[in-house]
């Protein structure tokens, strides 16, 4: 490190421009190196900090790699049975309508075992936020095919690639819930580049703001990587995601409220 100049003049409190938010705990994340779950956690926590709602927010952790999310967010959290986070969020939000309530769910949790809970919460328009991490695979259990697995995509249960003739078609559940009258805001984002992280953070902020205005269910999908399940290095997984996931799951807003009055 001898060719590095002294940074003592710069590394001072008054020059601080970015540090880890206090809405995350000091626990080391249990995620694999480079996994988008960590980045998604961080920007959710930053939005909670910036909105000043740390003591008014209740998160629901799913089953999946993020089952331990309650160890990482310094907010009230409850862990739900697999796929049932929207049902639990409905109950919590109805009992405590002044709280900000969000679920955090993977694609296996939200779009396979929890499909009914997802669709009915979105159709009812219960007033909470769903954050949906779509990595196209069951990460935690060893990379099995999920409803979101792309046509031709390899997984541990589709080792030659997903054959839609025998394994069915991938489910674009985000487009599906956008059709339902109860959703006010439906968007698809990513967190692998600085620009995408900044956009995704704005989307999460909007989702929480709409919830604060009782506008219905806000739904933020984050297309993410599972480098362990995809069997790639984190950098290659991010490139693969751009080349393969984004054409099928295009980024951007799918449904926005008629008028923004923020």
């Amino acid at each position: 490190m001898e060719n590095i100049p002294t940074t003592a003049d710069i590394v001072k409190e008054e020059n601080l421009v970015y540090k880890k938010t206090k809405v995350l705990t000091d626990n080391i994340l249990s995620y694999c190196p480079g996994c988008g779950h960590g980045t998604a956690h961080r920007i959710i926590a930053e939005v909670i900090e910036e909105m000043g709602i740390q003591d008014k927010t209740i998160g629901i952790a799913p089953v999946g790699c993020s089952v331990l999310a309650y160890n990482f967010f310094d907010i009230d959290m409850q862990q739900a049975a697999h796929g049932r986070a929207p049902a639990l969020a409905t109950a919590i939000k109805r009992l405590l309508p002044d709280k900000f309530v969000f679920t955090y769910q993977g694609d296996g949790d939200l779009a396979a075992i929890g499909t009914a809970e997802t669709i009915h919460a979105c159709n009812r328009g219960d007033n909470f936020t769903i954050i949906f991490i779509n990595n196209g695979i069951y990460g935690m259990t060893g990379g099995q095919m999920a409803p979101t697995t792309l046509p031709g995509m390899k997984s541990s249960t589709s080792p030659y690639g997903r054959d839609t003739q025998t394994m069915g078609n991938p489910l674009k559940i985000t487009e599906l819930v956008a059709q339902l009258p109860g959703t006010c805001y439906v968007t698809r984002q990513a967190v692998h580049t600085p620009g995408n992280v900044r956009k995704a953070k704005k989307a999460l902020r909007l989702a929480f703001e709409y919830q604060g205005k009782n506008m219905g269910l806000s739904f933020v999908e984050i297309v993410s990587n599972c480098n362990s399940g995809w069997k790639m290095t984190p950098r290659n997984a991010n490139e693969w995601m751009e080349d393969n996931m984004f054409p099928f799951y295009p980024l951007g807003d799918i449904k926005t409220p008629a008028k923004l009055e923020l």
């Binding site: 490190m1 060719n3 590095i4 100049p5 002294t6 940074t7 003049d9 710069i10 590394v11 001072k12 020059n15 601080l16 421009v17 970015y18 540090k19 880890k20 938010t21 995350l24 080391i28 994340l29 995620y31 694999c32 190196p33 480079g34 996994c35 988008g36 779950h37 960590g38 980045t39 961080r42 967190v191 692998h192 580049t193 600085p194 992280v197 900044r198 290095t233 984190p234 950098r235 991010n238």
Partner: protein, 75 residues
Amino acid sequence: MAKVKGSIVIKIEQCKGCEVCVPTCPHEVIALSKNVNGKGYHYLEMVNDECTGCTNCAVVCPDAVITVYRVKKVL
């Protein structure tokens, strides 16, 4: 005077060496070390003094390992 306008502080023991921050740096300031941390990961380090404090690397780090400083006026 070095032309540094920004600097980062890396929590070496928390870095998982995933390298996703490396391509986001506009000035190629950061790279993985040849050495490893206590967990055996090649951790991130600064390799030159071109940092502008743009925060790109910190914003994509899944493990919130990077703190960024920037001097408002060039020294």
